[in-house]
């Protein structure tokens, strides 16, 4: 591979996202350079995984199951949410739920998730509840608000 100029990371990301075609300099380079191709494929895999994590089709059933499980747990358990919301992201979500629905609801969600559910899943699980009582527009704004605070 001596003498080859490896493309920068941005171009590998473009290729991984499908923005760069095989007839571009990056495409031609990746046909020859196995190291760069391996990097680009890794980026593509990570990118696809991230997109699926948003709300992947395959994950919809998982989310539905998580929602059902959390609802069941929330209906049965009282408790102290602070103990189960050590994760700062979870603490933020449970605080939000506490403001709108109350401490008991926040406590149940925190305890039901046990800290094992990713926050994005918890937010998606809670969104129908927010949407039902506050309206879709307010629920969307709330999700954005929490996501914004996370960043």
């Amino acid at each position: 591979m001596g003498g080859l100029i490896h493309p920068p990371m941005e171009e590998l990301v473009d290729w991984a996202d499908g923005a760069a075609t095989p007839d571009t300099p990056t495409g031609r380079h990746l046909e020859r350079c196995t190291v760069c191709r391996a990097h680009a494929l890794l980026i593509r895999h990570a990118s696809q995984k991230a997109r699926e994590d948003e709300v992947g089709v395959g994950e919809l059933s998982t989310l539905a199951n998580a929602f059902e499980r959390l609802q069941t747990c929330m209906g049965a358990w009282p408790g102290n949410w602070r103990r189960h919301a050590r994760n700062p992201a979870h603490a933020r979500l449970t605080r939000t739920i506490e403001v709108y629905f109350g401490r008991e609801a926040a406590s149940r969600l925190a305890k039901a998730s046990g800290g094992s559910e990713p926050e994005r899943h918890l937010m998606l699980v809670m969104k129908p509840m927010f949407s039902a009582f506050l309206g879709a527009a307010a629920a969307d704004a709330l999700v954005e608000q929490i996501a914004g605070a996370e960043c």
Binding site: E98, E104, P128, A136, A137, A139, Q145
Partner: protein, 313 residues
């Protein structure tokens, strides 16, 4: 521009002030024996409070309804609550303001005013079952949504007891007044049939209110829960007032309790006005972020909230 939280505070302080005035007028009447003190309270601050709270409740309910987009689950419920507020206000203006002999009543200054005042007082009473019907339909939708979201709680022993008391009272009222062969209040008219609906509707409302109250208690004390607890409290006060009137007419409760039942309608009206304020605060806070609690302009009750997204661009 007024903040939603300030509305809650304003209504609470106004209710407290009104009840202090009520105590003062009652004490003056008790000491002097002059009924004028009581009339002065019911015809002026009492009427103004009732109409003011009804107007505020209607305005806030309308803003809540407007915040919901078409297709939102709660939108039909809030439309019915707006209609409840409208009929409550109409009934208040016609029955309490135009149906009274106070100087605030414009009919009082007309030559043929006396007959009109009597008609207004009778017409105003008809709006009570109509408003209850709208509220019952709205709360039915709320109960459905609670059930769909898995937060609907069951009834407890005390709830059954409370419902039992109101049901027994309703059955007794129907047996004594409605189903009686000799109607003590004259011939049966459509308006009379409409007013008879009040008690069965109150039973339904109380059942719905208890279900929502239990569900809200299960969730905790969030803004949304507080909104429905305020409605529950309002319905509970209305039931107490209604039973108090019936018990006073039959002389089955001591005078102190009879007097208390005259004033229980004011906290009920205050709760009806405050309930949508909590919902509005929750919706505006969700849309604009917590900053709206500190910036009066963001949470103005002008209802422009839907046009302002969060986070701001």
């Amino acid at each position: 521009m007024i903040r939603a939280e300030e509305i809650q505070r304003l209504v609470s302080w106004s209710t407290l002030l009104l009840l202090l005035l009520a105590v003062a007028s009652f004490a003056a009447w008790w000491r002097t024996g002059d009924w004028m003190w009581m009339r002065a309270f019911f015809d002026y601050p009492g009427v103004l409070f009732f109409v003011g709270c009804s107007l505020l409740g209607l305005r806030l309910s309308y803003l809540c309804w407007r915040q919901f987009a078409p297709g939102d689950a709660m939108r039909p419920a809030w439309l019915l609550i707006v209609l409840f507020g409208l009929s409550q206000l109409t009934g208040g203006v016609i029955g309490h303001l135009l149906g009274s002999n106070s100087a605030l009543n414009p009919l009082h200054y007309l030559a043929s005013g006396h007959d009109l005042i009597r008609t207004a007082a009778a017409t105003g009473r008809l709006f009570s079952p109509i408003s209850m019907l709208f509220l019952a339909a709205g709360l039915f939708r709320v109960v459905q949504i609670c059930r769909k979201n898995g937060v609907l709680a069951g009834l407890k022993t005390f709830d059954f007891l409370l419902l039992g008391i109101v049901t027994v009272y309703t059955i007794h009222y129907f047996a004594a007044v409605v189903l009686s062969s000799q109607h003590p209040e004259g011939p049966v008219t459509p308006s009379k049939i409409l007013t008879w609906m009040s008690d069965p509707l109150l039973c339904v409302l109380l059942l719905q209110a208890i279900l929502i109250r239990r569900s809200a208690a299960n969730l905790g004390w969030g803004l949304i829960a507080r909104c429905w607890v305020a409605f529950t409290a309002a319905i509970f006060f209305t039931s107490v007032g209604d039973i108090g009137l019936w018990a006073s007419a039959r002389g089955v409760i001591p005078f102190g309790l009879q007097a208390a039942s005259w004033y229980v309608w004011y906290p009920a009206t205050a709760c009806y006005a405050v309930a949508p304020a909590y919902q509005l605060q929750a919706m505006l806070r969700a849309t604009h972020g917590p900053a709206c609690d500190e910036e009066p302009d963001a949470v103005g009750i002008t209802g422009t909230g839907r046009d302002k997204p969060w986070p701001p661009a």
